[in-house]
């Protein structure tokens, strides 16, 4: 075998290599630095992310590929890389003061964050099911450890254990689905599958059933990662137990990565047999929206509330898979960009409200009247909640608008009506947070909190980002439209 025949193109994976190198350096520094010098570790982490971002921007528009299609740097992959890197950057900023508060300033935490980001980038930037699977495993294993990072808190342990058991169970479905699809086409390359899929019944004889079984298994596996109902059970428990920045991270990056892989697999490789799987996504979308929103109505723990809201938002995004048009795909890209901003912003407020003793998640006790005592947090929390509910002029409004309008254009009016009713239901629990923060007499223990610089920066950046995208959505929308595969 001659290795020089394989088209190796290191340039394609420079952003990933940078993350990996910084991850290793962080691990080694964690092992060798004296305790009082560990304050520099988070700064190293965000520098690594920024460098990786810089190289990704340089690759944008190049359309390079390498390793025989196993690594891509097309615009679609890079757009998702931007989403992942921005969310990881914000999570690093969220973690600085959080870990200091918990007296857990550790390099391996940031190393795992970088490795998880690397995994997500692999998921979005490959034409090969095996590489997608590999990336997904890197993300999952990092997250299992990170969600159990508060070792002495039983809830954190519970979150980690539940996440691990259910996650590995779902992964087995995914890998079995990949095996069946390989059995059908003799390849794991999505580009080749794209050409073979229309003929699956022709020269494969009776094996069409196995193809559909494989597609079903893939949907189960990815359905778990994007927490769509009925594969959502892990999410509220993991959110409640995991360290708050990690809960925010799980809702942003890994979820977007799951959607990236799903988009590539279903709207590219299996696009020719779309009528066969549209109904499944229709059902998943309706179930996710309705269950997520109805269960969120009863939550008084803000982290659990955001978990159910995240499930519901997953449902809205799944509408795009049903309509499947180009404008739907760019709608997903826009939606995810807006979603990471508003969700991480909300998590930043939760972290600011908490302290070492309490988490800052109890709506009744810790948020009643808190908006008047902490106007900065109150105003920005209101912006995040309005955006999550989908009010103009915030990014959340346009995100929903693009996805719904593309579904109407594709003729799925019924689905959009269900989605709009769901949006109306969700207004209740998002506005309730604002009502509690501003219009309820404050409980005694609610006091003005001092906000660390890094947290304030995240809140400010995400808040401004949401308003900017809500007032001038065109720029990002054009970028998203140019990033369709």
């Amino acid at each position: 075998m001659d290795l020089s025949l394989i088209d190796i193109n290191w340039q394609v994976i420079t952003p990933q290599i940078i993350l990996a190198v910084f991850g290793f350096v962080l691990l080694l520094l964690e092992a060798f630095l004296p305790k009082d010098k560990k304050g520099i570790l988070p700064h190293l982490a965000w520098i690594g992310i920024a460098l990786s971002f810089f190289f990704s921007v340089n690759l944008f528009g190049s359309g390079f590929s390498g390793f025989n299609g196993m690594a891509l740097a097309d615009n679609f992959a890079l757009f998702f890389s931007f989403i992942f890197l921005i969310s990881s950057f914000l999570v690093v900023l969220l973690s600085i003061s959080f870990l200091k508060r918990e007296e857990q300033v550790r390099g391996d935490y940031y190393a795992l964050l970088l490795f998880a980001t690397l995994g997500m980038m692999l998921m979005a930037s490959s034409f090969d099911l095996i590489v997608i699977f590999l990336g997904l495993e890197i993300v999952s294993v990092s997250l299992y450890i990170l969600s159990g990072f508060r070792k002495k808190d039983p809830k954190s342990n519970e979150a980690s254990m539940k996440f691990f058991l259910m996650g590995s169970f779902a992964t087995s479905f995914l890998i079995f689905g990949i095996a069946l699809i390989y059995g059908n086409f003799g390849t794991t390359n999505l580009e080749k599958i794209l050409f073979l899929a229309p003929f699956s019944g022709v020269f494969a004889g009776a094996s069409e059933f196995l193809l559909y079984a494989g597609i079903g298994f893939l949907i189960v596996g990815f359905g778990f990662k994007i927490a769509s109902v009925p594969f959502h059970m892990w999410m509220p428990d993991v959110f409640e137990g995991a360290p708050t920045p990690i809960a925010g991270f799980i809702s942003a990056g890994p979820k977007a990565a799951g959607f990236a892989a799903l988009l590539r697999i279903f709207l590219l490789a299996f696009s020719s047999i779309k009528p066969d799987w549209t109904l499944i996504f229709w059902i998943l979308a309706v179930l996710s929206m309705t269950t997520g929103n109805l269960l969120a109505l009863w939550q008084t723990n803000l982290k659990r509330l955001l978990a159910y809201s995240s499930i519901a938002h997953g449902g809205y995004i799944l509408i795009a898979f049903v309509s499947g048009s180009n404008s739907a795909i760019s709608g997903v890209l826009f939606y995810l960009s807006a979603y990471i901003l508003m969700n991480l912003g909300a998590f930043a407020v939760i972290i600011s409200m908490g302290s070492k003793e309490k988490e800052g998640t109890d709506l009744y006790k810790e948020y009643a009247g808190a908006g008047l005592k902490n106007p900065f947090l109150g105003v920005f929390m209101a912006i995040f909640m309005l955006s999550l509910a989908g009010f103009p002029p915030t990014a959340g409004f346009f995100a929903k608008f693009y996805i719904f309008s593309s579904a109407i254009k594709s003729g799925y009016l019924g689905l959009v009506i269900i989605a709009v009713i769901n949006s109306l239901i969700s207004v209740y629990y998002y506005l309730r947070v604002i009502v509690y923060m501003f219009m309820r007499p404050s409980a005694e223990e609610v006091k003005p909190v001092s906000i660390p610089f890094s947290l304030g920066l995240v809140i400010l950046l995400t808040g401004i980002g949401i308003l900017a995208l809500g007032i001038l959505p065109q720029e990002l929308l054009n970028l998203a439209y140019n990033s369709i595969f």
Binding site: F24, L28, A31, F32, A204, G205, A206, S207, L210
Partner: protein, 118 residues
């Protein structure tokens, strides 16, 4: 291609049947003459201390995991060594990077004190 999967099915059936068959066979034809020495736990030839049903120190788990890492490394190293000449210099560098990453892990584990028996 359903016939291809039929092989897998046959393999499964025969695999299960074979295991059951062997167990049954040894039950049928093996003489059964127990004595205290035979019924003892096997501990690599040492005289066993206490029962087999003891709680193991959780620390063994850590060592087992670290052992697995290097076990897997060997799985990669052997095929590479066999075809080393035809793969050339590039594969050599690749392997060095692979081993370097594992050594990073070892250094981390070592420094964190996971190899110390406390």
């Amino acid at each position: 291609m359903p016939s291809d999967y039929a092989f897998v099915g046959l393999f499964l059936v025969f695999g299960v049947a074979f295991v059951l068959f062997v167990f049954l066979l040894s039950k049928l034809i093996a003489p059964y003459k127990p004595n205290p020495v035979k019924k003892e736990n096997y501990e690599c030839g040492e005289v066993p201390i206490g029962q087999g049903w003891v709680q193991f120190n959780v620390r063994y788990y850590l060592f087992a995991i670290i052992f697995v890492i290097f076990d897997v490394e060997v799985v990669f190293l052997f095929p590479w060594a066999v075809v080393y000449k035809s793969l050339g210099f590039f594969a050599f560098i690749e392997m060095l990077i692979f081993i370097a990453i594992l050594i990073f892990g070892l250094v981390y584990v070592w420094r964190k004190g996971a190899l110390k028996w406390v």
